[in-house]
């Protein structure tokens, strides 16, 4: 190609790009819903500003909380869209929201799906400044576009959704957890400026306590293309309990290739690390993202969710908000204690007890639960029985002197405290026992209990340190013992499972000092041990994201076909790395750190096909071979963004003669930067399937 040809092509494309951008600006500006909203000249789309908040841009890295954030206090968001619960709006001035959860619509048993449901309307507004809600924008310009409504719970019952220092800062993590807990999410289709629907809710609190307060927030995707793909932006939103990513496809996945339909599967990411959670003491944003449940936030509305009929009795572990760490994977249940106060508990499936006889104990809570596991009001005659194995004793309650069985009346919603201990003197070390909960004589819950070797012999200390630029906590599964930043003493030969959990905005990088590489990690206490967990902030310098996009391989004939897709997206680092001119190494480990595969692509050859063994069963037999592809990622959205996509397309299961479970750690090294993701895989030869998930 000659230079003149290059110049001609470049000028043609440039002219076309400018013309397209100008057309977009003109088209978007003509939409009434965007009247008065500033237009981003780089994209031709309106800036996404939450109502009443200043314009906040996450910078090139698309991550809030990093140094390149931009806050333009001169641009304050107006009201573009309003959510109302109850479904009574008929046009004109948009009515105010409920003034409290006592006045809010109650979620009723749903007709369409499981759980309870709340009717809602998403109303396009004429763009007034809050606290007014404005008047509805009617018209057909947006007919067929999708609206998304999400319900978030006020877990701690303090009347505010999200972190606030109004009640002190000690419980900010549990308040942050509220914004990571989705009680339900549903789409609706806009017709004449309103999208009406019903959102299913699976989280609730006992009716006798007034139920659980929900905040309904929402947004709408106002696109321009004829295809009406659901992910087609730009988008407008009510006040949200977080700063959303600028790109709506970070929430509405590009897998939603069909027009919006409430009866279609929906791929959403409401836990994205690109969401902004400014701390309550942020100098500009402060507590603007904390949404009070008193009707003062006019773009959102409230609802009340009561738990369903009692279907079981369950055990939970009481949570201490002062030591809680928010994480999307955690599930917090809203129970009530015997004094009528809200009691937050976490489901418990396994715990460890010190095998020390009368001494260290474990405290749990027993409560009546509905089909979704929510604490609920029992029937008046409901009673639950606990059965524990011979190596366990029920310390309290004890009404009949039987240490291994107890029947407890559950006449109201109050969770009953349960204290368990090891039987002592039975040399239980290493044994496993169960706690079984019965209702009507049928087992409804179970907790596996492992005994840690008892005291009397040698003990060692386990020191847990934190490192890195980010933050997180390390927990153990042993009897609720938590090692925040301190140490604990364990009997000789005890096996302690450490789990590193990164806080939002951080990522766990790895362990050092104790010879383990997996997470969770098992530490054998045969000496004093020191483990350092390193957490780094998620940042573009260098940014690190390697995650499983799609990880199900379907059944086939002799092979499992499908895709395990892992994307690594990163930007140019300060050293000037460019992936096209630097070598890229992909390494796949098993869960124990063994290397299945390692290959380095030389600089300049960024795409390759290769055979890859991705799975090994517990006997160490290498029997499965896959093809993986290095490929360029989705189109670049910012100039410096590059990436790698690893697609495992075919897995040969021949030779695998029984089900096997394992995990692989995929590690990508680009120059000095390392990215890693753990994928758990289950192979089932009989069904010829391999399924993996992050």
């Amino acid at each position: 190609m000659t230079m003149s040809t290059v110049a001609r092509c470049t000028s043609l494309v440039l002219a076309a790009t400018i013309a397209a951008a100008a057309a977009r600006v003109q088209a978007q500006s003509a939409l009434p819903v965007f009247s008065g909203d500033p237009i981003d000249l780089a994209t031709g789309r309106p800036h996404s500003i939450l109502p009443g908040l200043p314009l906040v841009l996450p910078g090139d890295d698309e991550v809030y909380g990093t140094g390149d954030d931009v806050i333009d206090a001169g641009r304050i968001g107006d009201v573009d869209v309003v959510v109302r619960a109850g479904g009574t709006f008929t046009g004109g001035a948009i009515p105010p929201p409920a003034t409290g959860i006592g006045a809010a619509p109650r979620a009723e048993p749903g007709q369409a799906g499981a759980g309870t449901a709340v009717p809602f309307q998403v109303v396009l507004s004429d763009g007034v400044a809050p606290p007014a809600a404005g008047r509805a924008l009617s018209g057909s310009q947006h007919d067929g576009r999708g609206a998304l409504v999400v319900a978030y719970p006020d877990l701690d019952g303090d009347g505010v959704l999200g972190p606030s220092n109004a009640d002190g800062s000690a419980d900010n993590e549990i308040e942050l957890q509220e914004t990571l807990t989705v009680a339900g999410r549903q789409v609706a289709v806009i017709q004449n400026g309103v999208a009406a629907g019903s959102i299913g809710v699976s989280i609730g609190a006992p009716a006798s306590t007034g139920g659980l307060g929900l905040v309904l927030v929402g947004g709408a995707l106002i696109g321009q293309t004829a295809a009406q793909h659901f992910f087609d932006g730009p988008w407008i939103a009510t006040l949200l309990p977080f700063l959303p990513p600028m790109d709506p496809t970070r929430i509405i996945g590009r897998g939603n290739v069909r027009p919006p339909n409430p009866a279609n599967l929906l791929e959403v990411d409401l836990e994205g690390e690109r969401f902004g959670h400014p701390p309550p003491d942020h100098p500009v944003l402060g507590t603007a993202l904390a949404i009070p449940l008193d009707g003062s936030s006019t773009t959102v509305d409230l609802a009340r969710s009561e738990a369903g009929l009692a279907a079981a009795a369950k055990l939970g572990r009481p949570l201490d908000p002062a030591t809680f760490t928010a994480n999307p994977a955690r599930r917090v249940l809203t129970a009530v204690d015997q004094q009528g106060r809200r009691l937050l508990v976490e489901p418990v499936e396994a715990l460890s007890l010190m095998d020390d006889g009368p001494g260290s104990t474990v405290a749990l809570a027993l409560f009546a639960a509905d089909l979704f596991g929510n604490p609920t009001d029992p029937s008046t005659a409901m009673a639950a029985s606990l059965e524990v194995g011979p190596a366990l004793v029920i310390v309290s309650p004890d009404a009949d002197g039987d240490l291994h069985r107890e029947t407890i009346a559950l006449g109201n919603a109050a969770a009953r405290p349960i204290v368990l201990d090891d039987a002592g003197g039975a040399n239980d070390g290493g044994a496993t026992e169960r706690i079984v909960v019965l209702v009507d004589g049928l087992p409804t819950d179970s907790v596996r209990t492992t005994f840690v070797p008892g005291q009397g012999g040698q003990t060692f200390t386990l020191q847990v340190n934190m490192g890195g630029t980010g933050s997180g906590v390390v927990t153990t599964t042993q009897g609720g013992v938590a090692c925040g930043t301190g140490c604990s003493r364990w009997p000789a030969a005890a096996q302690v499972t450490l789990t590193a959990v990164a806080q939002v905005g951080s990522q766990f990088v790895g362990w050092s000092g104790c010879g383990v590489s997996t997470n969770p990690a098992v530490i054998t206490m045969n000496a004093n041990r020191t483990c350092t967990a390193t957490f780094d902030l998620i940042s573009s310098k260098p940014p690190a994201e390697l995650r499983v996009r799609r990880a199900v391989l379907a059944r086939g004939r002799g092979v499992a076909k499908g895709r395990v897709a892992l994307d690594a997206v990163f930007s140019a680092d300060p050293a000037g790395f460019q992936p096209a001119v630097a070598p890229v190494t992909l390494t796949v480990h098993d869960g124990a750190g063994g290397v299945f595969y390692s290959r380095t692509l030389p600089a300049g050859s960024f795409e390759s096909n290769d055979l890859l063994t991705v799975f090994r069963d517990p006997r160490g037999v290498l029997a499965r071979v896959a093809r993986f592809v290095f490929a360029r990622p989705r189109p670049r959205r910012v100039p410096d963004e590059h990436g790698v996509r690893v697609n495992v397309r075919r897995v040969d299961l021949a030779g695998l003669d029984r089900a096997a479970v394992g995990s692989v750690v995929v590690e990508l090294t680009v120059g000095e930067v390392r990215y890693a993701a753990t994928v758990g895989c289950i192979a089932d030869a009989g069904r010829q399937t391999l399924t993996c998930r992050p």
Binding site: C9, A112, G184, E267, A311, P443, D445, T691
Partner: protein, 171 residues
Amino acid sequence: MVTGRPICRLSRALAGAALLALLVAAHPGRLRAAGTDPTLVLSEVDVFSNVAGAVALAVGGTFSFDDLVQFSFPAGLVIHQGNRFVRYGFDGAMREGTSGIVGDGVSAADVPALLGSGGAAATPTRLVELRIDGAVVVLPATFGPGPAAAVVYAVLGGEAFVSNTLTVTLP
């Protein structure tokens, strides 16, 4: 050195993208993306019982729970032991019986026939809990000691889907 007709790579790329867009628009039904297939994965199964011998299973995994809460589509858990099966619909319907359909495992093709098989499940069969990452059920008394298998199914848009199968030994 330049030979032949000059090529404008960018224009060709744009033309290719436009062609792809046209193909996608013309054949949307060919797209099989994440938004159309339910995620059905079983990752663990646990069995527990009381001293009287009633047996419960706790299965862990993912099964498009968030969508199931929003709109109704047939989905549920099947436990089978030999030709005996019990099906726990996530809508609360429970059926049990015997059928050769399950004798060699449950495939997607088996699901329509399975949905019409069996009778109402008798006590103590119960769907105890349904949560985002699993379910707990009480088995019928007709299930005896020995191996059994668990699989999750769903029917969406007239098409049946099944998860992987996990096996468990009943006490």
